[in-house]
Amino acid sequence: MNWSSYFFLIFLSLSFYQKAHAELGLQDLGLTKSEVELTPKQVKEQKTLETRHSMLKTHEVLGLSTLGLMTATMLTGGSALDSNAHMYLGMASGLLYFTTAYYSLTAPKPSGIKDRGNIVWHKRLAWIHFPAMVLAPVLGYLYKKNEDDGKKSSSLVKQHPTIAGIGFGAFALSAALMTIEF
């Protein structure tokens, strides 16, 4: 073995020595580049998450405000023919309700996320309170108009309090399900 072979062996040995003594790094764990470094796609996805978070926070605040207004509307239902308070509260509730729905329906959702937990029932209950919130104001308007004109309301129009009550119940339950989450 000549000198150059010895030097090569020493060099090789030192390389192994240095490698063995180097601090453990993420590359030693077999992580891929995309798992460690930020890609433009990931920056965009984080923005999506933040937009979603912000929109759902607004949805939450508006939803709780809607619930408050709905409660007041329900409580004034008995005096609906004597004053306009019930009607105005109902209009405000409806306006806030559909604004709340807008923030939920348009919030971006990252792909590949399957709903689990209370959110599943929160969404299912919308199939009850959404039609009720469309129907109740129309029936309420017709009921009041008929009463003012001295006309007899149809059996469907007379169901205004029942439909509004079902919508209110479903909405309150839906809000309660999400309020106990964070």
Partner: protein, 169 residues
């Protein structure tokens, strides 16, 4: 010439002495406490290595922040937002300890935890055995993590994190 050969042999022997272990069957879970409820989330996607040489062991464990799953998908998305998982995709735990500790059943390690891009030192309590476990208490505000709130009350700043793991050569 003999001296050079001796140096080479010595360095080679030192290299052989180093023991490398890979994390295996590892799981991590966090517990978030609030006035009204307690929530758990867990991840089984831990990657880690431990290198023991010259009576000192060094370890590094990485967990994809996105991999933590709780019982509610909406909560998981909130967690991903506040931890900015796309900006800071990994949570890492690293530290060193004397190799002699591996002969004990319980010991403590001063470890560095990187969460939300901020590194802080914590005491990691280890229960060492065939299947080992570890526990540390993360402090969210130390990592500039905005604490989520429920009915005007924020979750506890202290988040206990538990690990269970095995090492294989």
């Amino acid at each position: 010439m003999k001296m050079i050969f001796g140096v080479f042999m010595l360095l080679s022997l030192q290299t052989v002495e180093a023991k490398e272990l890979v994390l295996f069957k590892a799981k991590a879970d966090y517990t978030v406490k609030h006035l009204f409820k307690t929530v758990k989330g867990e991840s089984g996607q831990l990657k880690g290595k431990m290198l023991c040489e010259k009576e000192v062991c060094e370890f590094l464990v990485a967990i994809p922040a996105m991999s933590f799953v709780s019982s509610d998908s909406n909560r998981d998305l909130n967690m991903q937002t506040i931890l900015e998982v796309k900006k800071f995709p990994l949570i890492t735990v690293k530290g060193t300890f004397p190799e002699s500790n591996l002969a004990k059943q319980n010991f403590e390690i001063k470890s560095l935890v990187s969460l939300h891009g901020i590194e802080k030192e914590y005491v990691l309590n280890i229960n060492y055995g065939a299947t080992s476990s570890g526990r540390l208490n993360l402090l969210l505000e130390d990592h500039k993590v905005e604490r989520p709130s429920l009915l005007m009350a924020k979750i506890d700043n202290k988040v206990p994190v538990s690990f269970s793991f095995e090492w294989k050569e």
